[in-house]
Symmetry: C2
Subunit: 149 residues, 2 copies
């Protein structure tokens, strides 16, 4: 029964969560999306494939998936949250540029290794200094995209 299951299904079940149709639809949508949709955008799109879904379930599902590390929540301060897949076979670590005018999010992968090395070093120093357990980090650049500048 284990083989043949998508990676995320296994992760859900291992932690006692059920692999429902709504969750499946949301994860599959996010896996295919190269954008960083907000809960409402996810709701509007997923609804076309799985018409029964409600916005509430989208929010609740996103919370669960984030908790399991299947997705990542991004906040840029424009009043809406955004989500992206953070695991699975095709996934690659990356960071983000945010256009403060139009809200466009651009993925980038420059100097990832160098950055990871430094951030790990910083993270370790901080854990020790403040007895703080670091789970994750976010590095965002803010500015104006090509169209908006």
């Amino acid at each position: 029964m284990v083989e043949g299951q998508p990676w995320w299904q296994l992760r859900l079940r291992k932690r006692g969560y059920r692999a429902t149709l709504g969750r499946k639809a949301i994860i599959e949508f996010l896996s295919r999306s190269w954008k960083h949709p907000s809960p409402e955008q996810i709701y509007l799109t997923v609804r076309r494939i799985y018409p029964g879904i409600g916005l509430t379930s989208v929010y609740r599902t996103l919370e669960v998936l984030e908790h399991l590390g299947i997705i990542r929540k991004l906040v840029f301060g424009d009043g809406r949250s955004r989500y992206e897949i953070s695991g699975g076979p095709r996934w690659r670590y990356h960071q983000h540029l945010f256009c403060v005018k139009c809200g466009k999010v651009i993925d980038y992968q420059s100097y990832i290794e160098e950055k990871e090395k430094l951030l790990n070093k910083i993270g370790k120093a901080l854990s020790k200094k403040f007895s703080f357990k670091i789970n994750t980090h976010q590095l965002h650049f803010y500015g104006l995209c090509k169209k908006c500048r």
Copy 2:
């Protein structure tokens, strides 16, 4: 008339903004604060010194001050924004740790130079690659503080 004016007053006037009592009260409060207050916290505190102020003005003032680079807006994704002074004589560059359980924000200054060097390098590469004009960045670590872990 120029000497004797606080640094922020000059910055406001140079850009055509007026140095009102409300703005003065907010900036002075933020200059003294080592915390990262939300608009509501700013409102509640400043109101004790300057009772006439309204929450709306706090929001509008924060927007102006951020636009002028006098303060910085911090977002951690818990549904409220936070602000801190980002200039003036006593100010020192720093970054933040955020406790996802209690919302505590800790300032830190580890490896600042090394980090700045790398981020400038990344910033330049990204500006070029995406024709993106970078204004600022935020690097946040998320986790659990001493009390909450």
